[in-house]
């Protein structure tokens, strides 16, 4: 039997969550060791015995036994989960407690508990995202550093600090307390949104890595939505915007592996079933009166996803959605995207006016697509000299080879257009 891709990584979070609940969050490292040992055993036994019919169950059972060994061995030397204290003191109760913690229902809760614990208010958002990737998604420090194009030391520090904060909190987040649950949910949504954006807009050039980050964010969001208290309009909108944007990812790369802008994408490469899923989430998100940022972003993504060609796009609607988004989150990036939509609706002159009117535009000068947008507008106005200048600026700010290649192609287009 073949092993599902990323099976180990995907089981990691659930297993660490279950063991941590028994050991207590201050013993997170020990819980990780137990889960690691289960994987280790799998690599030692499966080559001979073959992949078991239910590999997840095998891994769980092995982790369960390892956890039991640790409890027996260190019962007197360590304190484990405070709320299970009594039970863990008596040898006879150990097995049933472990059995309960590894029950399928409990494990789903464990994962959720861990997700909420990672979004501890004392942690910076970037630390929350790193912790999620590490504890819930099973990425190593090196893998996170490479995915987020960050240094190993920086990520290591972020995760170590995060774990310390978790340990100091002494107990994991209580998922049975509806008040606390609802008040932390927005932070969890935000962390998932940031995780998704790392994949969708991040600096990593590798298409596979970006897709994987987006998928992880979607996987965790789906787990969130299974819980009745999490299934809020806001979280549905988050799920919608993820699906509707991720569905277009395959179009971002053309047949020769080069970046392709929304304007030239092969729309037949878009993931139609995922668009359908996103549309259903968008409908579900419409219960209730509040239309937040995620609703607006999802609505914008839905217009792009529904358009069969760039000229079929309802740009007027896109502009009005960006207008609303600007009132909630007036960032330079959103202003830039709004300007691009206005240029589509009213022509490049208006687009340039809007870009020039962006407050804090200096914060955009290191963002290559800011220059690229200016370049495109100038090219449309047949001011090819200006266009070339802007594409050159985009080139100097490009974050990876794929972007460099893309901008040099645009620069070439501007140079070709100059010639009579």
């Amino acid at each position: 039997m073949e092993l599902t891709e990323h099976l180990f990584r995907h089981e990691w979070g659930r297993m660490v969550g279950a063991v941590t609940r028994i050991f207590g969050v201050h013993n997170l490292a020990l819980a990780e060791d137990v889960v690691q040992e289960a994987f280790c055993r799998a690599t030692e036994v499966w080559p001979w015995r073959g992949v078991p019919e239910n590999p997840s169950a095998w891994l769980m059972a092995t982790a369960k036994n390892c956890a039991l060994d640790v409890l027996r061995r260190e019962r007197t030397a360590r304190t484990f989960a405070p709320d299970l204290g009594r039970l863990l003191e008596s040898e006879g109760a150990l097995a049933p407690v472990i059995e309960e913690a590894f029950g399928p229902h409990a494990m789903q809760d464990d994962l959720l508990r861990m997700m909420f614990s990672c979004c501890h208010p004392h942690l910076a958002q970037e630390a929350q995202v790193a912790l999620m990737l590490h504890i819930l998604c099973g990425f190593s420090v090196a893998e996170i550093a490479s995915a987020l194009v960050s240094s190993h030391a920086a990520i290591e520090k972020r995760i170590a600090r995060g774990k310390k904060t978790l340990a100091r909190s002494r107990r994991l987040f209580d998922v049975t307390e509806p008040g606390e649950f609802s008040s932390r949910l927005p932070a969890v949504d935000t962390a998932l949104y940031l995780l998704f954006n790392e994949g969708y807009h991040g600096a990593n050039a590798a298409f596979a890595v970006r897709t994987e980050l987006c998928r992880e964010a979607m996987r965790l969001t789906a787990i969130l939505l299974e819980h009745p208290l999490c299934a809020t309009p806001r979280t549905y909108a988050l799920a919608a915007l993820m699906c509707l944007n991720a569905a277009r990812l395959p179009g971002r790369i053309d047949a020769s592996g080069n970046l392709s802008s929304l304007f030239d994408q092969d729309r037949s490469a878009w993931d139609r079933p995922l668009i359908g899923e996103g549309m259903s989430f968008l409908e579900l998100s419409a219960q209730g009166s509040d239309a937040g940022e995620y609703h607006l972003e999802a609505a914008i993504a839905s217009i792009h996803a529904a358009a069969h060609a760039i000229e079929d796009t309802d740009w007027a609607k896109v502009v009005s959605l960006y207008d609303s988004l600007m009132t909630m989150r007036p960032t330079p990036i959103i202003a830039l995207n709004r300007a691009i939509a206005i240029a589509q609706r009213d022509g490049p002159d208006r687009g340039i006016e809007e870009i020039e009117a962006i407050a804090d535009a200096d914060r955009l000068t290191s963002y290559p697509f800011y220059w690229a947008a200016l370049g495109e507008f100038e090219l449309r106005r047949h001011r090819c000299g200006f266009a070339q200048e802007h594409f050159r600026a985009a080139l100097t700010q490009a974050r990876n080879d794929a972007e460099r290649h893309f901008f040099s192609q645009r620069l070439q287009a501007a140079q070709t257009a100059t010639r009579p």
């Binding site: 180990f8 994987f39 030692e44 499966w46 080559p47 015995r49 099973g138 190593s140």
Partner: protein, 111 residues
Amino acid sequence: MSEFTYLFRGRKTSGSPEEMQKHFEEWVAWFQQLGAAGRLKDPGHPLQNAGKVVSGGQKVVKDGPYAEAKDVVGGYIIVEADDLTQAVEFSKGCPILAVGGSVEVRPVQTR
């Protein structure tokens, strides 16, 4: 054609889940390669890490082997090769080597 026992020592204890899964897949690929070449005489067995060691005339029983990770025998197989040199050559594809482990290649005494 002679038979050789491969004793695998060492464990891959560290690595991300993704790396662990890859390590497992390398083992499968190597076993398959030996099998496809008709060299896997007996697939042998993996061994559990814990056990007992009985020693001496006093028949002292100890928990063990509890050796260091790099010395633990994790399993064995029996391979067919022309001679020891070839058996050693075949063993070089074993994934345990990449994680600091070793393969002990021992001719089986058949006569």
